[in-house]
Amino acid sequence: MQRFFSTVIALVIATGFTAGARAQSAKYHDAMKQSVDQLDTAHTVASMVDLANRFERIADAEKTQGLPYYYAAYCQLMSVMLGTDKTKADEIADKAETLISKAESLDKPTSETYVIRSMIATCHLMVDPQNRYMQYGAASGEAIQKSEQLDPGNPRPVYLEGQSKFYTPEAFGGGKAVAKPIFEKAKTMFASFKPASDIAPQWGAHATDYFLSMCN
């Protein structure tokens, strides 16, 4: 009897916990889904900052999810890349670094977090390309390679590589002609890429199409 009660209590507690977790998770999932869906249509600095803040709020409230920190970092970096003001780029890159480190400590370093690390280096690089190329150009490329190594099927590092080539002057081994086949490869990879869930990283396909159109 004693044992029966214990089992029941255990079951009840377990069920209760599960229900609680799932309920939380539904709220989390909905909030995430809503924000993730806006990523591909956010084209202004203000909308990117807004999304970054939203993801960070979710992350801070959840405390155990790495994904919203990952997105918060991504949106912070995009707010620099979409804008023309580079005066706060270093500070924002440092903030993104803090966010992605939190994401990595909650989950683990992944192909996707290395994509962010590459973007962080690029963000620092943009401030003063001539003098920072040696340090940050190398760091950005290295992160892309790590990302590809961790998940050869991930199209995002390929897209970033294309973007980096696109913005590198022809004389330095970049240019549209060099970037185009890389974007084409990314496009094919995006076509067959299946995100792990509907809130898992899936951005980049639209941007790839955009850059491909610029290459022609």
């Binding site: 203000a46 803040n53 960070e56 409230a61 706060k88 401030v127 920072r132 340090q135 190398a138 790590k146």
Partner: protein, 742 residues
């Protein structure tokens, strides 16, 4: 389970409908300006908003009771406040305080030009030094294009703001470098020994420098060596002046590195093409060996070791000014060693910097009077008997320095430390009339210093420092206060600096029974600077007072004096003209001094009233080629014939002003491997031509002993041409790095 889920969603919806509270307000900074993009969040909830372009925000929350509202924005300090949600709309305005970040805060810039690759918005990077036309990869030559430095073509060293070359001291990783320049000969300037690529940071202080440094009356050139290299690589260089090669190894775990470099310089090929006025019977040849290692200590520490040895020799003969057919031959053999070990480590809020170095420099000099057939001649009468001489000059310096820094609130910090230098100098000389004379001195120099950086607000900073020094040779203690302040207004900032600087008399004067006392300079500097990523504008005024300068006549009591005052302007712009980076500098200098054998206070011969430089750089990507042009101008400098011929005192037998100085130089860098990003080597071709217009340069005049003959001092050649090819072979270790980090 689905039921539970649906239920909770429903509950959520109901609650939203029922208990929503609107929170709105405006985020502004302390100057009441709106802060856009700030994040406003109710802690532990998803609820929040981002402020719009006017700083306003508005959102609803279902939270109830006492909640924490958190506000964050880039460049501002985090803000939080408890609010109580009762159901009624909440109006909450928020004032954010500026974050004291190193980037936004005011920096004391009076007197100093920070250059380097690490800091943001630096004035000159090491790449800039390589691509400054006319500098030929010599740090001090590039620095001569900055305001404050003089264009003195016939003497070695940096002449800053009316100071002599000896008044500028060079420090590598905190250690004083005794023989920064190659030993040269009369009327020919020599370049610095160290390559710009050794350093990641350069601070050129033309006055008012920190209490951490001493014994330089006018200027400090503070060089910080590079940390770990980015990758393992080898390099080779072939040029019209010699060969070089090196290898830098970076451990796969990126915790330590080792490097080795060798170079051989021989000016024979260059001198075949570019005719030199002096007759070089021994063409300059130089060999240099360098080694280094760097080890990371813990998470925040780095130990660096660097050793340098160089040997060089040359010999030249020039017509003797006192006779029609005789010649003066001069030959030099030099060996120079410099080694330093430094360690930087952070312990929480503490930071310890230890450095130690040793240097040894030996110059073996022979001067000979020769006849028309280049055979030695002996004439046992003055001035000829003094033209035959053997001399060995030995300089040794061992030093240790410790600095302990404690980070206070914000950016404020306190530094205390001490240093010790053991200096030994010996000079031996003899000829037919003077017996072998050995003179020398030993000095134990100790100093203690303290400095505080105080940020009253992020926009107002003070630096208070002091330095106490004791030299056993002078048996005197001095105390040198240093003060500076900076205040940021709008895009620009004002800085002020005051400081007292002491310096021992120069090595040679310490030998000959001079009354030994510190020379003294007092600096007052005011500066205004505006700097962003693409532009730098600086305006600086200074006044410098000299006391106790070394005198050699009428007596050797150190009662020389003088002053220097001036205005300097610097403008660098990387943006206005597409693809063109240029800077312009201008210096106005008014200086007079009475020192050495000067009969009265007068303008020294190393000071031009007006000096200006324009440096332009353009990289044409299509041609993979960089074009760099520089033009320097200086008004004529005074020259004097200070003579004691036929009198028992020194007098001005002749004086005047030289023709103005004009020099236009060009350098071209061609990088053929640019378009092959995956190539394992990187090649740079360099062509540089100094004084392309071949404009005559006169640096002063030499006079015969009896004042009858006057000869212009001109550079050994009007132009100089340099062609070189430098290849670096990167050993790509990316794969190792990936494998080791996963």
């Amino acid at each position: 389970m689905r039921l539970v889920l649906t239920f909770s969603v429903l509950m959520g919806l109901c609650l939203q409908g029922m208990g929503q509270v609107r929170i709105s307000g405006q985020v502004v900074n302390k100057k009441k300006k709106p802060v856009p993009g700030a994040s406003i969040a109710v802690k532990d909830s998803y609820d929040g908003a981002t402020s719009d372009s006017t700083g306003h925000f508005s959102f609803t929350t279902t939270e109830k009771g006492r909640v924490l509202l958190e506000v964050t924005a880039v460049s501002y300090k985090d803000y939080d406040a408890y609010i109580t949600l009762t159901g009624a709309p909440v109006q909450q305005d928020i004032v954010l305080a500026d974050n004291v970040s190193e980037l936004g805060a005011v920096v004391i810039t009076a007197g100093s030009f920070a250059a380097g690759d690490k800091q943001r918005g630096t004035v000159l990077s090491s790449l800039d030094i390589y691509t400054t036309a006319g500098a030929n990869a010599d740090i001090t030559s590039a620095i001569k294009t900055l305001p404050g430095a003089q264009q003195v073509g016939n003497q070695t060293g940096l002449f800053v703001r009316g100071g002599t070359a000896e008044e500028t001291k060079v420090f590598i990783d905190g250690s004083l470098v005794n023989n920064y320049f190659y030993t040269g000969t009369q009327d020919i300037a020599s370049r610095g020994r160290f390559s710009p690529s050794l350093f990641q940071g350069t601070v050129f202080s033309s006055g008012g420098y920190s209490a951490l440094y001493g014994q330089a009356l006018s200027s400090a050139l503070i060089l910080e060596s590079t940390d770990l290299p980015d990758k393992t690589q080898g390099n080779l260089g072939i040029s019209t002046v010699g060969l070089s090669g090196g290898y830098d190894y970076l451990a796969p775990n990126k915790r330590y590195s080792m490097g080795f470099d060798y170079s051989y310089v021989n000016l024979w090929p260059s001198f075949q093409i570019i005719k030199q006025t002096p007759d070089y019977f021994r063409v300059p040849v130089n060999q240099t060996i360098e080694g280094n290692f760097r080890v990371k200590t813990g998470k925040n520490g780095l130990l660096k070791f660097y050793a340098y040895y160089s040997g060089d020799r040359f010999g030249l003969r020039r017509p003797d000014i006192d006779s029609g057919n005789l010649k003066d031959a001069f030959s030099l053999q030099n060996g120079d060693f410099f080694g330093d070990l430094s360690w930087k480590q952070k312990f929480g809020k503490w930071r310890l910097t230890l450095s130690t170095s040793y240097s040894n420099n030996l110059d073996k000099i022979q001067a000979t009077l020769q006849d028309a057939e280049n055979q030695p001649v002996k004439i046992p009468a003055y001035p000829y008997d003094a033209k035959d001489l053997w001399a060995h000059n030995l300089a040794q310096l061992a030093q240790g320095k410790a600095i302990l820094e404690y980070k206070l609130h914000g950016l404020s910090a306190i530094r205390v430390g001490g240093e010790y230098q053991y200096g030994y100098y010996q000079s031996q000389f003899y000829n037919d009339t003077i017996p072998h004379v050995t003179t020398g001195w030993t000095d134990n120099y100790t100093a203690a210093f303290a400095e505080a950086d105080i940020y009253i607000t992020p926009l107002l900073a003070l630096k208070l420092g002091g330095r106490a020094e004791y030299s056993s040779l002078l048996a005197k203690t001095d105390v040198a206060p240093r003060l500076s302040a900076a205040y940021k207004v709008g895009p620009g900032q004002f800085s002020l600096a005051y400081g007292v600087f002491y310096q021992k008399p120069d090595n040679n004067y310490l030998l000959f029974g001079q009354d030994k006392d510190y020379q003294k300079a007092t600096h007052y500097i005011a500066n205004y600077q505006i700097m962003d990523l693409d532009h730098t504008f600086r305006l600086e005024g200074f006044y410098k007072k000299y006391n106790y300068l070394t005198k050699t006549f009428p007596d050797t009591a150190g009662n020389g004096f003088g002053y220097a005052k001036g205005i300097e302007l610097f403008w660098r712009d990387k943006k206005t003209f597409k693809g063109i980076d240029y800077w312009v500098s201008y210096s106005y200098l008014d200086t007079k001094r009475d020192y050495l054998n000067f009969p009265y206070e007068m303008e020294p011969s190393f000071a031009a009233r007006h000096t200006a430089s324009v440096v332009v750089k353009k990289f044409v990507q299509k041609w993979k080629t960089g074009f760099n042009v520089s033009y320097s101008f200086a008004t004529g400098r005074p020259y004097y014939n200070i003579s004691d011929y036929a009198k028992d005192y020194y007098y001005i037998a002749d004086q005047g002003r030289t023709i103005p100085y004009n020099n236009m130089s060009l350098s071209i860098n061609y990088i053929p491997t640019l378009s092959k990003p995956n190539s394992r080597h990187f090649t740079v071709w360099v062509l540089s031509l100094n004084n392309i217009l071949n404009i005559k340069e006169v640096d002063g005049y030499n006079y015969s002993y009896d004042n009858q003959i006057k000869q212009a001092i001109e550079p050994p050649a009007g132009r100089f041409l340099f062609v070189g090819c430098f290849i670096s072979f990167g050993v790509d270790r990316t794969q190792d790095a990936i494998n080791n980090n996963l």
